[in-house]
Symmetry: C2
Subunit: 199 residues, 2 copies
DNA sequence: CTGATTATGGATCATTCAGTCCATATTCAG
DNA sequence: CTGAATATGGACTGAATGATCCATAATCAG
């Protein structure tokens, strides 16, 4: 068979050991899988969906990622770490109102309607999968912590409840948006809530 | 075959026309289906799950409800009407703080972890099914309206944003609860948010 | 009773699903 | 070069899926 296999190794793959080297970028494939799960959810995503999007044969898929469930957990964990890191950066980089910037980033009223992958997972799977519930809980608690530090850098512990209220509010807007409530109304809601929730 | 079929008609079935009468209560079957969808979501619920829970053969199922999708929409609509009616009753019956009572009823921090069926549907299906999105939007707007009337019976239109903030907050707590955040923390959050959000 | 009409049970169907297998290809160590 | 080790393509598998079909049962109108 012809093949034009790339002569050398691939972008981000570690130094090859003995056997034949990977013909794909594992990190990129994981990222792609994450997007598919994000758009369709776990149950509605088939292996064909995944392998097609990732550009892998089934052999490569199972060889590299184990199975659908395992890949899913990796993808979700990857998403969570990324999202939390980004949110921290936003909270720290803002010279103005960090809370406002965070609310905007989470609810993202002008973005698509995929929502937050972790929230999607919690809703779909957490009641029946303790590992997902655990990942979800940690994710939400991380967000809460960032809010708390933004609200009171000196004593974050004193504003836990308020931080959790902001978290809940931001998460709630994701459902509104998915249901088709116009972005400007959601933005107004956040503005309103922000001014009213200020101490 | 023996059979012991109930000699007469069934509980809530309308007067029989020509053919053989239904051997089950359609309303009860719908209610049961609703519970199954509520617990497992749409994709994860199989026809065997449904027929087993409803106590129907496939013939009866398809004869009475069309198909899985159609039944699902009926079940969701049924849930929504019920939930909105109940919420209205709670808001009107409370002599104390109606908003607080509504928040408690929606977030239900001491209930199970199935959340709100409509929110589950929105998260799982709304981005890919406009009918679900429409049902979800109407549901959320109904909640918002009840909040608005509770906040200011004279001029509900003037407090739309605040009503939507309460809605979002209540919906958000459902995710927290599903993720395993302790009920008492959620209750504290609501109390805190309520006092702070008061005008 | 007879015939029309509707419901029921259960077999059946084509499709899709997640996951396996094997022959072949590509690399490294020696 | 030889052989061990790993990756790849793609056919294949058994189970589960949503949905249909048909023979039979139960009812009503006449």
């Amino acid at each position: 068979m012809s093949h034009a296999t790339s002569s050398k190794s691939l972008p981000g793959n570690k130094a090859p050991g003995p056997g034949r080297p990977r013909n794909f970028d594992e990190a990129a494939a994981l990222q792609t899988a994450m997007c598919v799960f994000w758009q369709k959810g776990f149950e509605a995503t088939s292996l064909d969906d995944l392998t097609a999007a990732m550009g892998l044969s089934r052999s490569s898929f199972y060889g590299a990622f184990g199975d659908k469930q395992t890949l899913f957990l990796r993808a979700v964990e990857h998403y969570s770490k990324n999202a939390i890191r980004t949110l921290k950066e936003i909270a720290e980089a803002t010279d103005g109102d960090a809370v406002e910037a965070m609310m905007e980033a989470i609810s993202d009223p002008h973005g698509g309607s995929r929502g937050c992958l972790l929230v999607n997972c919690i809703t779909e799977l957490a009641p029946h999968d303790t590992r997902v519930a655990e990942l979800g809980r940690r994710h939400l608690e991380s967000i809460e912590e960032i809010f708390a530090k933004a609200l009171d850098p000196q004593d974050p512990g004193a504003v836990r409840d308020r931080a959790r209220a902001y978290t809940s509010l931001a998460i709630g807007t994701l459902a509104l948006r998915k249901a088709g409530i116009p972005a400007d109304r959601i933005a107004d809601t956040l503005k309103q809530a922000k001014t009213v929730l200020s101490p």
